[in-house]
């Protein structure tokens, strides 16, 4: 705080946005130096929701530590669990049954849609339109109900286990997912009517928050943030895991480099996720939903790394094993942290109102940043 004040010149205004602030959607603390309404510097202060998940995981067994990762990026809890399960499977050299792989991918894509729906509503709320939030939650609720029925929980599912999934699909699953796809296709045009096509919204988004492709790479951004700058970074395409290499879907690239491009990437990604689900939902193979694994898992000595594409970008799980039942060291490479780091770069020189919009397009989930 003190050194930031030292950097300011006369007439500058230093305001603390957060840790309790309606725009930060969590306990993010931004120290903003303002000149009038224009931002001169943004400094994020982290650590308000640090729960030392990495250290906690070191004392948990390979079956147990997966559930903690649901609490990192809680909006794509499923995909976090998936990453950990994949990493453990890599170490165990377990072949996951095909049915389990398909179930996992469908769940991942449903999670991605749910996450993007919430982001859409929350971002419109940041811009002052409160109504889209409720429309987004209407669709998201159907996904949550599907999750509740099959996984038993709505947000922190803990459905992925090493070797497959915890339980088989609910008998109603396919019907419900098809119903959701119907609902989604019926309602998606409202998103364009209310927000995407709105002149006020477009003016708020176009040309603000410019992130050049070079910066996106050098800051280590991932996910829709880089794809909005035209940098191909979809892990599902570039380092395919599970059955993604057999599926037909497009990597969404927008070359606008601004907030609106990042917005469009997410909106169009939802369509691609629906496309993936449509390919799989009628073709879930019969078989086991879980591979046979030992009761006590022991990873061989060595280092294992697995990355997946969460709704926010690249999540890497790095496990160092000494051969015991618990990991020696776990490191998560979370997308939110790197995406937050560009905030100062893209926000400098713009107006205070746009900072909120930019944070919306970065799609920050604070527990993912702090862990």
């Amino acid at each position: 705080m003190v050194e930031e004040l030292g950097k300011t010149t006369e007439g500058d205004l230093v305001i603390n946005v957060g840790p309790q602030h309606p725009a930060t959607h969590g306990v993010l603390h931004l120290v903003i130096t303002l000149n009038g309404e224009t931002i001169k510097n943004v400094e994020p202060h982290l650590g308000y929701i640090h729960r030392s998940i990495e250290k906690m995981s070191e004392s948990l067994t390979y079956r147990q530590f997966i559930y903690v990762t649901s609490r990192m990026d809680y909006l794509s809890a499923h995909i976090n669990n998936h990453a950990c399960a994949l990493c453990v499977e890599k170490g165990l050299q377990v072949e996951v049954p095909e049915r389990a792989q398909v179930i996992r991918v469908i769940m991942d894509e449903l999670t991605r849609i749910a996450s993007h729906e919430l982001w859409w509503g929350a971002m419109a709320m940041d811009l002052g339109a409160l109504t889209p939030f409720f429309y987004a939650f209407r669709e998201r609720e159907t996904i949550n109900e599907i999750m509740e029925e099959t996984c038993g929980a709505r947000l922190t599912m803990n459905y992925m286990v090493p070797g497959g999934v915890l339980q088989d699909l609910h008998p109603d699953f396919q019907r419900k997912v098809k119903e959701f796809i119907q609902l989604y296709k019926r309602k998606i045009h409202e998103y364009d009517e209310l927000v995407t096509g709105n002149i006020i919204f477009q003016n708020r988004m176009k040309g603000v928050g410019y992130l050049s492709p070079e910066d996106a790479i050098s800051y280590g951004c991932s996910g829709p943030v880089t794809r909005g700058s035209g940098v191909s970074s979809d892990i599902r395409k570039r380092y395919p895991y599970e059955i993604y290499d057999k599926l037909e879907f497009d990597e969404i690239l927008e070359t606008g480099c601004d907030s609106f491009a990042r917005y469009l990437v997410r909106i169009r990604e939802m369509e691609q996720s629906v496309r993936i689900i449509e390919q799989l939902i009628d073709n879930i193979p019969e078989g086991d939903f879980q591979a046979k694994t030992k009761a006590v898992l022991k990873l061989p000595k060595g280092e294992f790394y697995q990355r997946v594409e969460t709704a926010r970008g690249e999540l890497g799980v790095y496990i160092v094993s000494e051969g015991g039942t618990t990991p020696y060291r776990i490191k998560y490479r979370s997308p939110g942290f790197s995406n937050l780091s560009v905030l100062n770069k893209i926000a400098t020189g713009s107006k205070l109102g746009d900072l909120v919009a930019m944070m919306g397009t970065l799609d920050l989930v604070i527990p993912d940043i702090d862990r």
Binding site: Y67, E145, E193, N198, Q202
Partner: protein, 158 residues
């Protein structure tokens, strides 16, 4: 030419706003689209999914018998130390010592409903209940003893 662009711009802007207002106006007039669930009122009709993970319970049959052998598999599987199995040794009619549970202590306040204990249990002694109204005024009430007082193990469960 400039004027034409200007008018076109204004027209497009106004049109986009009117489209948005038509959408909200539609929902304003169509009350059947309302999705609010009036929660405490609909308690009777509210049905949770049968897999919903609300809390861990131990089912007992009509003779006050459960299936828990006291093997502590659930205690080992739990990531948070939510379950504590306190065992005792019963003397069977044949005069042998047999391990049985005295208390199976369950800390609801620590539980994250991860379902690992239920899958770990070899004798299906515990399961997830679909309750969800867990709030109490005293934290001690969240520490539960799952086996009923005076209960004993079911015949034939090893």
């Amino acid at each position: 030419m400039f004027l034409k662009d200007y008018i076109k711009e204004v027209y497009g802007a106004v049109k986009s706003l009117v489209v948005g207002m038509r959408r909200t106006g539609y929902y304003f007039t169509h009350h059947k689209e309302i999705i609010t669930e009036q929660y405490p009122d609909n308690r009777d009709t509210l049905k949770l999914a049968d897999r919903f993970k609300g809390e861990v319970v131990m089912p007992h049959n009509e003779n006050n018998e459960h299936r828990c052998t006291g093997c502590t598999a659930c205690e080992l599987a739990c990531p948070n130390g939510t379950i504590k199995v306190i065992t005792r040794f019963d003397i069977t009619p044949e005069g042998k010592k047999k391990k049985a549970i005295d208390k199976l202590v369950y800390h609801l306040e620590l539980c994250t409903m991860c379902n690992l204990c239920v899958t770990a249990c070899p004798s299906d002694a515990i399961k997830m209940a679909q309750t969800f109204e867990h709030s109490v005024y005293d934290r001690n009430k969240l520490t539960k003893i799952l086996n009923n007082p005076g209960s004993k193990i079911m015949e034939g469960v090893e």
